[in-house]
Symmetry: C2
Subunit: 183 residues, 2 copies
C-alpha cells in the first residue's frame, strides 16, 4: 500500500508517503508545507491545498491517513489545525481516495506498542522500521510518516474486523520488529 | 457591493447573497447546503466545496463574509464547523475574493445595535432592512444573510479606520433604520 500521512497544521503541515504492509515499510517522501502567520488565513489554506494537491498527484496513493483533531486539545490552535485537516480531507476526496483519521494515541500504540510513548520513542521506532539512521526531519514530517505507518498496520476497520473474526490478534510494529529480531 | 455571507456548518451550511451599501441592502439569494451525517466527513467537505463553488461562480461578488469560529463554543461541533468555514475561505481565496470573518456579536451589533440581541430581534431587523415580510428561511440562510449585511455595513477595517480618523461615528443598521423612520 502507498499511503500519505498528514500531520495537519497551518504553520507547518507535515506530509509523509510510505510504501508498506503490516510488518514492513519504506519511506518514499517526507516534508512540510509551511505558510507564514502573516499571510491571510484563506490564502494559507489555499497554499496548503495546492501543496497537498501536488503531493497527491505525484503518487499513485491507496489511501490518506490524517491525525484526528480534537477540540479539547490546545484551544488556541484547534480551529486552524482542523481547517488544515479539512483541506487535506477535501483534496483526498476529490481524488476518490479513502481517508482515515487516527488519534495520536493510536499512532503511538501502533508504532511502539504503547499509546503513551513519548516523541523520542516514536521517532526511534520509526527510524528502525524504515531502516534509517534517524527519523525524517523536521518533526512534523516524522509525525506524518508515523501516521502513514500506523494506517498501513492498522488497516481499515473492515480489515480489523475480519482479523478479529478470524482469530488474529492485534500486534503493534514494536511486536513485529521484536519478533523479527528474535527470529 | 455584492457580498456572500456564510454561516458555516457540516450538516447545514447557510449561504446568503446581498447587494448593499451602508444603510440599504437587498436580498439576491439565500439557501443552505445540506450534507447528511451518515456521509464520510471528507465527502461532506467536498459537497460543501462544490456547493460554495457554484454560488461563487454564479455571482460577481465583491467579498465573502464568514462567521468566525471559536474553539470555546460548542466543543462537540467546533471541528466540523471550522472545517466547513475553512472550505468556504479556500474557495473564496481561489476566486481572489477578500474574505472577512465576523463574530456573532459583531453581526448582532451591526444589525440591531446590540451585540446581545436574540435571534428573533436579529430576524426582525433583517426582514425590515430587506423589506421582507419575514426573515429568509431556514434559520441558517437568515444567519448567512445577516453576516453579509453586517459586512456591507462594517466594511473593511481600513474603511473603519478612515471613518474613525475622519470623525464619523459607528452606526448600526438599527440606528440607520430608526433615522430613516424619523426622517
Amino acid at each position: 500500500m502507498l499511503i500519505l500521512g498528514v500531520d495537519p497544521g497551518l504553520t507547518r503541515c507535515g506530509l509523509g508517503v510510505i510504501e508498506g504492509t503490516p510488518g514492513r515499510a519504506s519511506l518514499i517522501e517526507a516534508g512540510v508545507i509551511h505558510t507564514p502567520s502573516s499571510m491571510d488565513i484563506s490564502r494559507r489554506l489555499l497554499a496548503i491545498e495546492e501543496g497537498i494537491e501536488t503531493w497527491i498527484s505525484s503518487h499513485r496513493l491507496d489511501g490518506v491517513a490524517i491525525e484526528r483533531v480534537f477540540a479539547q486539545h490546545n484551544l488556541m490552535t484547534v480551529v486552524g489545525t482542523a481547517q488544515a485537516a479539512g483541506v487535506a480531507m477535501l483534496v483526498a476526496a476529490r481524488h476518490h481516495l479513502d481517508v482515515h483519521q487516527h488519534t495520536p494515541s493510536e499512532v503511538k500504540a501502533a508504532i511502539t506498542g504503547s499509546g503513551r510513548a513519548d516523541k523520542k520513542q516514536v521517532g526511534l521506532m520509526v527510524s528502525r522500521i524504515l531502516h534509517l539512521d534517524s527519523p525524517p526531519q523536521p518533526a512534523d514530517a516524522a509525525d506524518a510518516v508515523a501516521l502513514a505507518i500506523c494506517h498501513c498496520w492498522r488497516g481499515s476497520i473492515s480489515e480489523k474486523l475480519t482479523n478479529l473474526t478470524s482469530g488474529r490478534s492485534y500486534q503493534s510494529w514494536a511486536q513485529v520488529v521484536a519478533a523479527r529480531k528474535v527470529g
